[in-house]
């Protein structure tokens, strides 16, 4: 697993700012973004801090469409670059992301999700799971999706995101939400300068006589060639499987397993504690990489007399992947809140209790 060196003294920081600070420490060379609530602090923090600390470019673009295309150009020139936005802005970027994925350019994207669809609300949600993990833009492609559930992870996943992006020549996305972006927590920031740069021989930097020219494109008119490109991308996504990450809490003995990501996973862990006080055996599986999705670990816990409850801040998106993993061996239930509403541990506990009742799980040994 990738090891990140951290400062020994923690700081109290807001999620968005910890992320921005981490980007500076990761040696980011360019940020192109546009204001949108609830993530404008990322752009603001960078415009204020970067001139004092690094030679990175920070540019407020005229739109998210412009931002993602500046990212394309800059990443194509071999630079370590990042953009951030929130749900409606990420929708605007989908075309650009498809181009970047096909052209195999590394970059870091941040989606601080808000309630939707449409202009929605500025309150947090997890409504962009499908968009992030199933494509979002046109064509057969994927991006790495990391789901932080704390301000610490908002900082750490910047390093992880850049590393994966550059190792696999793929866009990485940090899929956060408005609450994570706005809340303040203790964070041990990654050490400045501890993410080395690597050579990118494919980058367009000006062609010396010693090599053929490079070109960055996603256009391949001959279907044979386009198929080759697609097969190569699919192969890459298979390689990515080894980067799957997840977190398990008390699953071995559990009758009910909650599956949740990001902020919701923390709330589920609290619900788990409350349930334990009531004698219910509840565990939590928290996917950390949403792509590659940790199907296997979920599948391995599917069993008769065990039930799954997926909790999300949407109308039911990751639950489909949980169902795929479980493959009918256990019932899979869903609890969601939409529109920017955040579930609280008590309401999840009520759901757990109702399911325990329904499946007569009190005082029963599993398997």
């Amino acid at each position: 697993m990738f090891h990140i060196e951290h400062d020994s003294t923690p700081k109290l920081m807001k999620g968005n700012e910890a992320l921005a600070e981490s980007a500076i420490r990761a040696g980011m060379q360019g940020y192109f973004g546009y204001p949108i609530t609830p993530q404008s602090e990322i752009l603001e923090y960078l415009t204020e801090q970067v001139p004092k600390r690094s030679k990175s470019v920070v540019l407020q673009a005229e739109s998210e469409v412009a931002s993602i295309n500046m990212i394309y150009g800059a990443a194509g020139a071999g630079a370590r670059v990042m953009t951030s936005s929130s749900s409606p802005g990420i929708s605007l970027m989908q075309e650009g992301i498809s181009y970047i994925a096909c052209a195999e350019l590394p970059c870091l994207l941040v989606n601080v999700q808000r309630g939707g669809p449409g202009l929605g609300t500025i309150q947090p949600s997890q409504g962009d799971y499908f968009q992030a993990t199933k494509g979002g833009g046109h064509g057969d492609y994927h991006i790495v999706v990391l789901a932080p559930s704390s301000v610490q992870e908002m900082a750490d996943f910047v390093f992880e995101g850049f590393r994966l992006a550059e190792a696999y020549r793929i866009p990485s996305m940090i899929l956060a939400d408005g609450a994570l972006g706005q809340m303040m927590e203790k964070v041990y920031l990654p050490k400045e300068g501890s993410l080395p740069y690597s050579e990118h021989p494919w980058a367009t930097t000006g062609k010396p006589a010693s090599r053929e020219r490079n070109f960055i494109t996603s256009l391949h008119m001959e279907p044979e060639k386009m198929e080759e490109v697609n097969l190569h991308l699919q192969d890459k996504y298979r390689q990515l499987k080894k980067e799957e990450r997840f977190e398990l809490s008390a699953v071995n003995d559990a009758d009910i397993i909650l599956v949740a990501f990001g902020l919701t996973a923390r709330i589920c862990n609290k619900a788990r504690e409350l349930a334990a006080e009531k004698g219910l055996k509840v565990g939590v599986i928290r996917p950390v990489t949403l792509y590659p999705f940790p199907y296997d670990i979920i599948a391995s816990h599917a069993a008769p007399n065990r039930i799954f409850l997926t909790v999300e801040m949407n109308a039911g998106q990751m639950v489909e992947d949980v169902r795929l993993a479980v493959n009918g061996r256990s019932p899979v239930y869903f609890k969601g809140r939409t529109g920017g509403m955040i579930p609280n541990p008590e309401e999840i506990l009520l759901e757990i209790e109702a399911l325990a009742e329904k499946h007569s799980l009190h005082n029963q040994t599993v398997r």
Partner: protein
Amino acid sequence: METNVLVENGETLECVYAKPHTLTDTPMHYCPGCGHGVVHKVLMETIEELGIAENTVGVAPVGCSVFAYMYMNVDMQEAAHGRASAAATGIRRMLPDKYVFSYQGDGDLAAIGTAETIHTVNRGENILMVFINNGIYGMTGGQMAPTSLSGMVTSTTPYGRDTSLIGYPLKITELLAQLPGAYYVARHSVHTPNAVRKLKKAFRSSFQFQKEKKGTCFIEVVSNCPSGWKMTPLEANEWMEKNMFPYYPIGDIKVPKEMK
């Protein structure tokens, strides 16, 4: 394949003009007589003569010249439709000391890319923006462009462009020239040898200004589209002189002091 000398009838002649090495050997797909080929040649010749091929990155658009990157023997990026100047901005900001150009048609630059175009010039990005204006969308079959003339018949204005319904031909270059970030703005053509020579001078100056980090150089080339206009190349050039030039006059639009 050019040679330095040619012996004909006992006379030794020296080569005075050949295809620049900065153009690849790939035969161009453009229609016979299309201005794109000439502009590519002039641009690449300029880059070769200035000795900057090793330090230049170009951005190709979507449109007929989507394949520009196949013909230009420098590092190239293919941008999404309309976004060439945004991609060029990304490149320029990451490579402050290289030469950067974007190359776009009328749809790419003045329709879908209008926001990126205006803001790139407004920021005074230190790049050369090449704008090919032939008043039509060639690649997709000859539809109306923002720069199509009033009364012009295209595949989406079969009765001629009615300005009362769909607006006027857009003189985007004049609009951009008003922005302080635009350092040098000119309009050229490539339909005669003299016009070609003048365009080359404009490109040379633009790269020089780029070296001096002066801001955006914006060069429009009023060009033809024999296929879209449904004419032979010679007829198209004649039509262009008669109809396009009065509306889009050839010449300097914004000239820095040192050029006057």
